[in-house]
Every structure is written in C-alpha cells, then in structure tokens.
Amino acid sequence: MPDVSPPKSAALRAMYWRSEILQVMYWLQGEGLGDVVDAPLLERFLGVDASNGVTYLDRLVVEGYLIRQGEWYALSDTGMAEGATEFAMAFSDLTRPAHGECSDDCWCHASVEEAEACLAGRQHDHHHDGHDH
C-alpha cells in the first residue's frame, strides 16, 4: 500500500500480512477475478516480495485460513470469514457515521460484522440519547 508500511516487529508483521492477504483474496473473489492466488500475484497487489509472500501464504495454510493447491492458495471457510471481517475493520473508522448520520444505506447494513460493530459503537457512544437507526 502506498501510505502504509508493514510493522517492524515480526509478530505484528505476520498479523499485518495476514490481514492484507486475506483482504485481497476476499476482494478478488467478490469481484469474480479469481479464487486462488500465488506469490507473484500477491506481489503485484500488495508489493510484498514474492519470496516473502510464500512464507506468509504457507503460514496462513498452517493457521487454517488458506488451502494450498500446488503453487496456488485458496481461502478456506475460516479464511473467507476472516477476510470479510478484516476488510470491514480496515475502513471502519473511515466509514463509520457520526451521530445522526446513519441512514438506510449506512455501512452497517453491509455485513453482520459491520452491523455488530455499529451496534457496539452506538451502545457506547449514545447509550442515553435514544439514537434511532
């Protein structure tokens, strides 16, 4: 990503790439552009060097998010659910409406995860003011 750098810590870096990889795979699948990725494809999408990309992909296989098919990797059911959540979380701060801005096409109608996040936010922010949604 142009404006975001991977974290310095190895553990945080692994989490960062897990999130980025699952998001891009979920997006590709939604667009009908492909159900599988390989390391060179990841390099084009995320800028992660292909040799490092393979390491992250294999780690996601071990963690149960991906299924390996030769040189290609596909999302498992767990990976699919996680990809959706990661994508929703990545932009939740940008898309979350301020108090009183919620409408029929609010972001929170887009998925269960986003609806739950919106509900939690509203309970926290507007507990006493009867915010109707």
Partner: protein, 116 residues
C-alpha cells in the same frame, strides 16, 4: 526509435480516472477496471485498481461497503466522497495544465516545421 502506443493513457492518471468514473455513480472493482480500460488505460490491471482504490479510501476520497450477493461472495461497492470530488477537480485542473503545455510544445514544433 521505439514507437509507443500514444493512445494509451499513462497509469499515473489512474487515480483521476477512478474518481471520474465514480463521479458518474457507485461501482465495483471489476466494472471500474473494465471502464478504466475503455477510457484508454488499456494496460490497467486489477492490482493497480485495488491498490489505488484503497489509497483513495485511506485519503477519504472514496468510501466503500459490502454488497451482499445471492449467487456468490459479497462485492465491495465504491463511491466518491466530497473530498474525492475536490481531489478530482484538482486532478482535472492539473491535466488541463498539462494539456496546455503539450499544446504549446506541439505548436512550437509545427511552427518550426512550417517555417522550414
């Protein structure tokens, strides 16, 4: 001398192209990719569209949400924001400036050609 296809819009303008397309209405990644190619950026790839859309979203120029599908996985729908409208206007102004500069350069060349 290497002859390039001068009708291909350089990829550096992808940001403006995507904002322009989204100004016409919200859309999905794949459709934006197809429209981008139709607008002259024939070498545009899905990866570039994905990265640019995410960068635009981080800059608050674009907003997006999941659109559930009956037949398959959810698709991300993208829309332009007021900040995106502003960025588009700036981008178009820059392109207009570039066009004027290119016109001056071409006019100078043609003048030389005509004067021998």
């Amino acid at each position: 001398m290497r002859i390039v296809d001068s009708t291909v819009l350089p990829r550096a303008h992808l940001r403006v192209v995507l904002l322009l397309l989204l100004r016409a209405g919200s859309s999905h990644g794949y459709d934006l990719l197809e429209e981008t190619r139709r607008l002259g950026m024939r070498t545009a790839e899905a990866a570039g569209v994905y990265r640019t859309l995410r960068a635009l979203e981080l800059d608050n120029c674009v907003t997006s949400w999941w659109e559930p599908s009956q037949s398959g996985p959810a698709r991300r729908t993208y829309a332009i924001t007021p900040a995106g409208e502003f960025a588009l206007a700036e981008g178009i102004q820059e392109l207009d400036g570039l066009r004027r500069s290119l016109n001056r350069l071409l006019a100078r060349y043609r003048d030389m050609d005509r004067d021998g």
